[in-house]
Structure formats: structure tokens, C-alpha cells
């Protein structure tokens, strides 16, 4: 049984902007899927529909046995805590310390009050430090997030999502604001999390070469429709041009 299933999903923003049209695909446990496509093709929208930051217009999404669109407030909370999300701009609470930001990943599990006053159990704190150690952030634990570099901030973002003990991690352009070496560190961590922790990953990526290197499956979308869904090996050059709707030579990527 797939962990995530899109069934004929369409999304129209404000009754005018067609972002997704009749999208269907399934993701199985442990997969590393990369979604590629030109700017505005609907990549972010796909991810946001999964944790209901965005409501779909038509069709249904099944995640972890829940029909997302029929979920009430309480169920949405259940769904969200099982799906971590990391963002292009990290979206941390910059004025708080690293460890506080990481512990935010537990909010979905807490009663409203203990979440409000920020009461975390000893086990939760221990887990947070373990995750920070794994991501090489032990030194930074008590630093304020606005003192960190971009690559460090993104690792805090990953740590926060791991605190959720997610079944799925949604990455919306995780390396789009990073330099190549920080990008590699982030992608290696994601790939490691996927392989050793068996957490399913869906990553929107701008860089086709990165997608080809790390993903086990590529979904190419153009103007809100899937035009490619398959392993990276079968993604031909002409297919890439079709996804990006550009003429040969205009794309600057060094792929086969």
C-alpha cells in the first residue's frame, strides 16, 4: 500500500490560476522522489496540498490512511505531525535558539497548554540533542538562529522536522538559497535520513543534476501536469527539454 496517493488532484487558486490539473501518482514507503519543473509549474503547490497548507479544489489525497481533504482540524494535526516540511528560506523562529527551534517539532504531539508554555520532557530534549549531534550542530545548540549560516539554518530545519518522527519529509527547494558545498551537505543528510531512517522524502529541486544524483524517482511537471514519472536513468535529454519547455542549448545543465 502506498504511503501517499494523489488521485486526480486539481488546484485552482482564487478561481483563476490553474496550478495543478488532474495530478495522479503514488509514493511508496522509503522512496526518494524529486519533483522538477519550471518556476510556477506547481511544485510547491503539490507539497502544500499534502499537509493541507493549501486546500485542493478537486480530487483526493490519501496520506498514511487519511483522506486529507476530509480531515477535520484534529486529523489535520495528526497528518501534519507525520509529515515534516523544510523550506527554501528555512522558516525558523530566528530570535529563538537552535534547540528551541528543534523542539518546536514536538508541538504537534503536545497538549495545547504545555505547547504554549514550552514544556518539553527530558526524553524530548535528549532526542533533540541526539538529532543535533547527528547533523553536526551540537556546538550551535544554544546559539540564536539568526547567528547561523544558511547551511546551518537548513540543518536546523531538518532537525525540527526529524523531531516530528515523520513518515514523510516534504522539502520545498531545500538548497535553492545555498552555495554548492552547503547544498551537498544538506542533500547528503536528506539522502542519509531516507536510507538509514527509512523516511520517505519528496523534494522539489531546481537543479536537475542534483535531482538525478540523489532521487530514486523523478516526477517532472509542466504547467500543473505530470509529463514524466520514472527513474532518473530513463529521463532523457529531450524529456528534460519538454519538462522545461525550452529549446536545446538554453538549459544549462551537464547531464547525459
Amino acid at each position: 500500500m502506498p504511503i501517499l496517493e494523489f488521485k486526480n488532484v486539481s488546484k485552482v487558486y482564487n478561481n483563476i490560476t490553474k496550478a495543478l490539473t488532474d495530478i495522479s501518482f503514488s509514493v511508496y514507503e522509503g522512496e526518494f522522489v524529486s519533483i522538477i519543473g519550471p518556476s510556477g509549474s506547481g511544485k510547491s503547490t503539490i507539497l502544500r496540498c499534502i499537509n493541507r497548507l493549501v486546500d485542493v479544489t478537486q480530487g483526493s489525497i490519501i496520506f498514511d490512511g487519511h483522506d486529507i481533504n476530509k480531515a477535520d482540524k484534529k486529523e489535520i494535526r495528526q497528518v501534519r505531525k507525520k509529515a515534516g516540511m523544510i523550506f527554501q528560506h528555512y522558516n525558523l523562529v530566528d530570535r529563538l535558539s537552535v534547540i528551541e527551534n528543534v523542539l518546536h517539532g514536538r508541538l504537534g504531539y503536545k497538549s495545547v497548554m504545555s505547547g504554549v508554555i514550552g514544556h518539553y520532557t527530558e526524553e524530548e530534549k535528549e532526542k533533540a540533542f541526539q538529532i543535533l549531534a547527528m547533523l553536526g550542530l551540537t556546538e550551535q545548540a544554544y546559539k540564536r538562529c539568526d547567528e547561523l549560516s544558511g547551511g546551518q539554518k537548513q540543518r536546523v530545519g531538518i532537525a525540527r522536522s526529524l523531531m516530528q518522527e515523520p513518515r514523510l519529509i516534504l522539502c520545498d527547494e531545500p538548497i535553492a538559497s545555498l552555495d554548492p558545498s552547503s547544498s551537498k551537505i544538506i542533500m547528503d543528510h536528506l539522502s542519509d535520513i531516507n536510507e538509514t531512517m527509512k523516511i520517505t522524502c519528496i523534494a522539489n529541486l531546481h537543479q536537475v543534476d542534483v535531482a538525478l544524483k540523489y532521487a530514486k524517482r523523478i516526477i517532472g511537471i509542466t504547467a500543473g501536469q505530470i509529463v514524466y514519472d520514472g527513474p532518473p536513468e530513463k529521463l532523457t535529454r529531450s524529456k528534460i527539454y519538454e519538462i522545461y519547455q525550452s529549446d536545446e542549448g538554453e538549459l544549462i545543465t551537464d547531464v547525459k
Partner: protein, 273 residues
């Protein structure tokens, strides 16, 4: 290199954008100039006459508004009223700020419950803000009479309106991205407010509250004249008795207090930012 002589392609409306901007600037300048002329004519404003009267006014003030011994003997009483006024202003501002904060959460793009509620919140805030505090005081005089409550609510309403609006803008500006991330972890709205919105917007919020405290101490003097309370009342009293030297001591003490508060709040701002 012949490419440089070739004109870069432009969308059709590009030139009109520049022309339009020039036109806007010209119109704005002419508008301001016209406004000045019209208002000068309407109010019969004579620049020369106005300037001439300045030295005379200064001399008169120098002669009458100097605290004498009698005025100094009233200092303890003046100071007690001053402290009372300052404390009321602080209390009003803090109460209004707390109400405005929770109210503004319904009006922001990031934390609102529904767009139509957000619109109503903004309209209510605009209403409270756009009625000046003095007008609020006059209106409330009818219901409460000359009473400390009148001044309290007059300041409360205008502060509430002003702060609701600025809080909405602040929260949308500084908290939007982390609010989204916290919702995505499965946090509830209240958890998101306390873990995301408050930590990220607190310095700006405190800064605005300090600013409103300064403003309100100034306003409360004026409102006190209307409602016969606090330091404003004292000023009014001395002034009507033509005890100008005591009145001037009141003014001087207010000025010193306002400056002190401003210095203090700048210090606080530096620490929290």
C-alpha cells in the same frame, strides 16, 4: 559590438511607465504648491505678520512663564499629579496593547481565522484609530462626565486602534514564514502564537508600546484639561487663575518627564533589539 547601437526590446508599456512617473512627480509638486497657496489664502495667513509677532510672543513668555518661589512651593503637589498622569498613561497603554495584540491576531494574513473576520478587524481598528483621542474624550464626557475613566477610555480607544493596526503589519512582516512552518509541524494556533509570533515580533511590539506610552503621556495632559483630571487639570487651574509661573512649572515638569521617558525607552529598545 554593433549590438550596442541596437535598441533593447521593451514591452510596449515600458516607456509610458517612465513618462507616468515623471507626470506623477510633477503633479504631486504642483498639488503641494497649490495646497499651500490655497490654505494661505483661506486662512488669511500673512507670513510677514506672523514672523513679526514671534519676538513679541517670546518676550511676553519670558516675562510671565518663569517659575517663582510660590510656584516652587507647589512642586511636590505638581509632581504627585505628574506621576499619577504618567502611571495612568502607562496602565492605559499596556491594557490597550494586550487587547490589541490578541485582536490583531484575527486581522493578520498569517494567523487570521477567515478573510472576512480580518477585514472587520481592520475596519474596527481604523475606526478607533481615526477618531482622535481628544474627540474620544469629548464624546465620552457625555457618558462618564469629568472623571478619570473618561480620560482612560479616550486614550484606550485611540491606542487600541493604533496598536492593532501596527501589530497586524508587524506580525505579517516578521512572523509569516515561521508561522507557516509551525502550522506545518501540527502546532495549534495558540501554540503557534506563543512559540512563533510572540518571540519573533516581541521587540517590534515592545518598541511600539514604548512609543505609545510617550505619546499618551503627552496626550493625557491635553485630555486632562478636558476631563479635569491629572496634570492637565492642574495646568488648566493655574492658567485660569493667571498664575502663569506655576503653570510654567507644570509645563517644564511635563517636558522633563517626556524627555526622560524617551531616553529610558530608547535604552530599553537598544537592549531588546
Amino acid at each position: 559590438m554593433d549590438k550596442t547601437t541596437e535598441k533593447a526590446p521593451r514591452p510596449n508599456n515600458q516607456t509610458s511607465v517612465f513618462v507616468q512617473r515623471k507626470r506623477t512627480f510633477t503633479l504631486a509638486f504642483l498639488g503641494v504648491a497649490a495646497l499651500f497657496v490655497v490654505s494661505a489664502v483661506v486662512t488669511n495667513y500673512e507670513i510677514i505678520g506672523g514672523l513679526e509677532s514671534i519676538p513679541k510672543a517670546v518676550i511676553w513668555m519670558a516675562q510671565h512663564f518663569v517659575p517663582n518661589a510660590k510656584a516652587w512651593s507647589r512642586l511636590p503637589y505638581i509632581l504627585s499629579k505628574l506621576v499619577e498622569t504618567a502611571l495612568v498613561s502607562v496602565a492605559v497603554t499596556v491594557c490597550a496593547a494586550i487587547c490589541a495584540f490578541f485582536f490583531s491576531l484575527l486581522g493578520t494574513k498569517t494567523t487570521r481565522t477567515a478573510p472576512w473576520i480580518a477585514r472587520i478587524v481592520r475596519i474596527i481598528a481604523a475606526f478607533f484609530r481615526n477618531v482622535p483621542d481628544v474627540v474620544w474624550a469629548i464624546l465620552l464626557l457625555f457618558s462618564f462626565g469629568q472623571n478619570i475613566l473618561t480620560g482612560f477610555f479616550a486614550l484606550f480607544f485611540s491606542t487600541f486602534g493604533m496598536l492593532t493596526r501596527t501589530f497586524i503589519e508587524t506580525i505579517d512582516e516578521v512572523s509569516a514564514s515561521c508561522v507557516e512552518a509551525l502550522y506545518a509541524t501540527g502546532a495549534t494556533s495558540l501554540q503557534t502564537v506563543f512559540n512563533g509570533v510572540i518571540p519573533s515580533s516581541l521587540p517590534e511590539i515592545v518598541s511600539w508600546v514604548l512609543y505609545m506610552i510617550e505619546t499618551n503621556i503627552r496626550s493625557s495632559t491635553l485630555i486632562g484639561i478636558l476631563t479635569a483630571t491629572g496634570i492637565g487639570y492642574l495646568f488648566d487651574l493655574y492658567y485660569k487663575r493667571m498664575d502663569y509661573s506655576s503653570a510654567s512649572l507644570v509645563v517644564i515638569s511635563i517636558v522633563i518627564l517626556v524627555i526622560a521617558i524617551e531616553i529610558l525607552s530608547n535604552k530599553i529598545r537598544k537592549v531588546i533589539m
